[in-house]
């Protein structure tokens, strides 16, 4: 069984080196190079990476007017364990990563890359995964298997019209079993029984301890939150056309899209604590409730994470999702407004909220404008399976699972619908 991790490496860029670093990153995906096979970071050869990105956080001023110097963020969604992932990074892309981190403070050529990555690793405040327990190789294998069975069905249907659901499944199972290359379907890649028991116990423990704390926090917090909200200055989000063009020029090229979003957290300890608390709850929900491919019934998110950076001054959000930005943001507004308002109402220029979680993101035009205003360009972005949606990946696994064990007639009928 494999679980997913979110690696965020945050390093300050050496003074005066931003442009050179930008050029280096540009080289990774610009012809004659391509993102998968380039000699700097040949992503396709790194088998533990689902999605990865490099982002430059430009020099900025915090709310007090202090300068935040520019930094580089490397982010991966990887198959655990972390040590093995970092080892693979160093082994396959060591030279390229050294070149890149050489532009960062605290790294010189010849330094220990793994030690640098571990030292500059930030923890996520919340992490959601849409395809849990599926390693990259497993996702690719299962996609191939599904396509092969689908072609097999096409042929069967043509040659013999008399089959029923039962005989068809038997034929498919027989076919797959006869192919040596599919011997892996019997491997145990799902959570074990013991693990499930442990998971259930921890879930119950969580619900019992967190619920009273959350209720208490809500009761104590509600009045100060409302007072703070009324003091919030009205939002002023200006869209820079040039930046928006830069963003959209990189969108809609493969099945998935990415979003990198960076915004100042509202000043004062109260907002920071509130934000941390909301993200803590969302993280638990992502672990215990939204762990079957849908985040609050949004079926299109592969991975998403929030990271609080710069000593609680800024909030960073990374997401990898299927389909267009417009669809993704539409789902936020239509389906998940409460949760997202809960998080982002603690950041500046967010549309007006009520009681932390109401209004805010439901103001569709203002929310979309705010999101674009604080979205930043991603210099390098990689997807290990650019033709697969979350629904495809999880459906492929269900097809694979249906190849072993006994099934009732109803189950066979439902299973065949998956093709």
């Amino acid at each position: 069984m494999v679980t997913h991790g979110a690696l965020t490496v945050y390093a300050k860029i050496k003074p005066g080196m931003v442009e050179q670093l930008r050029l280096k990153l540009y080289e990774i995906h610009t012809p004659p190079n391509d993102i998968e096979t380039n000699p700097i970071v040949p992503f396709k050869s790194i088998t533990t990476i689902h999605f990865a990105r490099f982002v430059i956080l430009e020099e900025a001023k915090d709310l007090k007017g202090n300068t935040i110097s520019p930094s580089l963020v490397l982010s991966t969604n990887y198959d655990k364990p972390l040590n093995k992932h970092i080892e693979e990074l160093a082994q396959i892309a060591g030279a390229g990563l050294e070149e890149i981190f050489n532009y960062c403070v605290g790294f010189e050529r010849g330094d220990d890359l793994a030690a640098f990555i571990k030292k500059h690793k930030m923890s996520c405040a919340a992490f959601y995964k849409g395809t849990p327990y599926r390693s990259v190789p497993r996702i690719l294998r299962e996609a191939e298997l599904r396509e092969d069975i689908a072609n097999y069905i096409d042929k069967q249907v043509k040659s013999d019209k008399s089959f029923n659901a039962h005989t068809l499944r038997n034929k498919i199972v027989e076919y797959v079993n006869s192919e040596k290359r599919y011997a892996w379907i019997c491997n145990k890649e799902n959570p074990t029984f013991l693990w499930k028991v442990w998971f259930l116990i921890s879930k119950i423990f969580c619900v019992l301890t967190i619920t009273p704390v959350a209720v208490l926090a809500a009761i104590c917090g509600i009045i100060p939150i409302r007072i703070k909200e009324r003091q919030d200055s009205s939002e002023k989000n200006v869209l820079e056309e040039e930046k928006i063009l830069k963003l959209v020029n990189e969108e809609d090229k493969i099945v998935q899209n990415q979003l990198t979003h960076l915004v100042d957290i509202k000043p004062g300890w109260f907002r920071l604590i509130t934000l941390k608390f909301v993200l803590f709850i969302i993280n638990l929900l992502a672990i215990y409730k939204f762990n079957k491919g849908e985040l609050g019934s949004i079926p299109s998110i592969h991975f998403a994470r929030w990271v609080i950076i710069d000593n609680g001054r800024r909030l960073l959000f990374f997401s990898n999702f299927d389909g267009s930005w417009e669809n993704y943001l539409g789902d936020f507004v239509d389906i998940a407004a409460v949760g997202l308002t809960g998080v982002w109402s603690n950041t500046v220029d967010f549309p007006k909220t009520k009681f932390l979680i109401f209004e805010g993101a439901t103001d569709e035009q203002k929310f979309k404008t705010w999101t674009r205003a604080h979205q930043i360009p991603t210099q390098v972005w990689y997807s290990a399976y650019k033709l697969l949606s979350v629904q495809n990946i999880n459906n492929n696994s269900a097809i694979r699972e249906g190849l072993t064990g006994a099934m009732s007639d109803k189950e066979i009928k439902d299973w065949l619908k998956r093709f």
């Binding site: 689908a150 069905i153 096409d154 249907v157 089959f163 029923n164 659901a165 068809l168 869209l239 056309e241 928006i244 063009l245 959209v248 020029n249 969108e251 809609d252 090229k253 493969i254 099945v255 019934s297 079926p299 299927d322 389909g323 267009s324 417009e326 669809n327 539409g330 507004v333 239509d334 389906i335 439901t362 103001d363 569709e364 035009q365 033709l387 949606s389 629904q391 495809n392 459906n395 009928k413 065949l416 619908k417 093709f419």
Partner: protein
């Protein structure tokens, strides 16, 4: 029902489709002399048909591209207040991936509106009851042109076509949004707020849609109302709407030839051919929805639009998930619950006012079609729709529903009727999956049967706003 909608100021095409005026032509104009063009526009603005009149002989509408409004002299800051999609235009480079204008639909190959063509500024839309009046009056209109020059004339004549059939042979234009405050009312669950189609009114999020404005300093007239959001800006967009215009060429022979090849098992079979095409459409040629008549066409249901998918056809056994009708209007089938799906669906509606062009070949038989004397003439659809947010309405439908190969959990199935498989999956052809028991049938290598050969984003202002444009000095 008392309505606060200012029909008197709204251009009539937004309110009605002019079925009584079957002869129509759309004149694409380029402004050559701004001062004269404004004078000409001033005269035209008096002829514009409003939303109250129900013309029986003639109607006139006018719409502008961003380049056109800029050319007429609107100021920089006011120009910025238009929607980004409109400012960038239909042919902005990144938009080809959103709209599927790739391959044969590449904007470089367009006949108008593309980068190789003359810049379109204005579209004058003329509708007549008789073909004869069109010919006569259109010539008069052209002779009156002053400061503008005709780039292209696009004709659509409903009377030479089978009544309301599109060129593949299916009844079209059945499902239209019912709008609150309009005369035609229906089930309140499906009534859509007017602000989805007309600026200046509440939308489905109960907010005023962003409307283009003119700053107080720039506004020298008393034609525009103050912007409702406060401040000293005047609402240029009030009673106007963004109009999407795309000329979509349909390859009728390719379409029916494909249906024939895919169903030909030892002999050509018209019934099978039409059934496959209907599965792709989601309706039969008569218009009868597959959800209600899964097995065969039934003209008794021709105009039926009172169906849903969630309860009647959750698994797509009657109307396939990938069919045109199901993906261009998923109704209650998208989740999270059927009720929420209905609600969300109302946020992605367009008001369609398109018309077919070219001669009609009345046949489902590829041999007959191939032999038809008119075969080589271009035919298709002048797709026209109105919305107040191009990105959330038209572009969303086009990208998230029509061209999306992953729609409803599918793998490589773009819309078989109007989609372009050359999207995110980058395949030359798509598949079409017909859900069935015990197992689905999969039609492979479905090519694109349509291609876009011209188009632009227009703004159709309220009548006073047209007068404002004519009054700019």
């Amino acid at each position: 029902m008392v309505s606060n909608i200012e029909f008197k100021d709204i251009q009539g095409l937004i309110v009605r489709g002019y079925n009584e005026l079957p002869a129509s032509c759309f004149l694409l104009l380029n402004i050559t002399d701004v001062v004269k063009a404004r004078q000409w526009l001033r005269i035209i603005s008096e002829e514009i048909t409003d939303g109250i009149s129900k013309p029986t002989q003639k109607a006139v509408q006018v719409a502008f591209t961003y380049a056109g409004i800029k050319k007429l002299g609107m100021g920089e800051s006011s120009l910025r207040s238009f929607a980004r999609e409109f400012k960038e235009g239909m042919t902005a480079d990144h938009r080809k991936r959103v709209l599927g204008d790739l391959g044969e639909s590449n904007i470089a190959k367009w006949q108008w509106g593309g980068p190789a063509n003359e810049e379109v500024h204005i579209m004058l839309m003329l509708y007549y009851s008789l073909e004869k009046s069109l010919e006569d009056d259109c010539a008069i209109q052209v002779s009156k042109f002053n400061g503008v020059q005709l780039i292209k004339r696009l004709d659509s004549n409903l009377s030479t076509l089978q009544k309301r059939k599109e060129h593949f042979g299916f009844l079209d234009g059945i499902s239209q949004p019912l709008i609150k405050g309009f005369s035609k009312q229906g089930d309140p669950r499906f009534m859509v707020e007017p602000g989805e189609f007309i600026l200046g009114y509440g939308n489905e999020y109960h907010k005023l849609p962003d409307s283009p404005w003119v700053s107080g300093a720039e506004n020298q007239s008393d034609l525009l109302p103050l912007l409702q959001d406060g401040g000293n800006n005047y609402d240029f967009g009030k009673n106007g709407s963004y109009m999407v215009f795309r000329q979509i060429s349909q390859d009728v022979l390719k379409f029916w030839k494909f249906m024939d090849d895919a169903t030909n098992e030892g002999g050509s079979d018209e019934e099978k051919r039409v059934k496959l095409a209907s599965k792709m459409m989601g309706r039969w040629p008569s218009g009868a929805p597959l959800v209600k008549c899964p097995e065969r066409d039934d003209p008794a249901f021709a105009e039926d639009n009172s169906f849903e998918f969630y309860h009647a056809d959750r698994d797509g056994l009657k109307c396939p998930f990938g069919s045109h009708v199901r993906r261009s209007n998923p109704r209650n089938s998208k989740g999270p619950t059927p009720e929420e799906s209905d609600l969300i669906n109302k946020r992605h509606k367009i008001l369609r006012r398109g018309r077919p062009y070219g001669t009609y070949i009345e046949s489902f038989d590829p041999v007959e079609i191939a032999a038809h004397s008119d075969l080589l003439k271009d035919r298709g659809l002048h797709f026209i729709c109105f919305n107040t947010s191009i990105s959330r309405q038209f572009e969303f439908i086009q990208d998230t529903w029509i061209n999306n190969s992953k729609f409803q959990g599918l793998y490589n199935d773009p819309d078989p009727i109007s989609g372009n498989p050359l999207g995110r999956c980058k395949s030359e052809t798509g598949s079409f999956t017909i859900q069935a028991e015990p197992v689905r049938e999969r039609i492979k290598d479905v090519p694109a049967f349509t291609k876009v050969i011209g188009g632009a984003y227009f703004f159709m202002p309220g009548i006073n706003a047209v007068k404002y444009l004519a009054s700019i000095r």
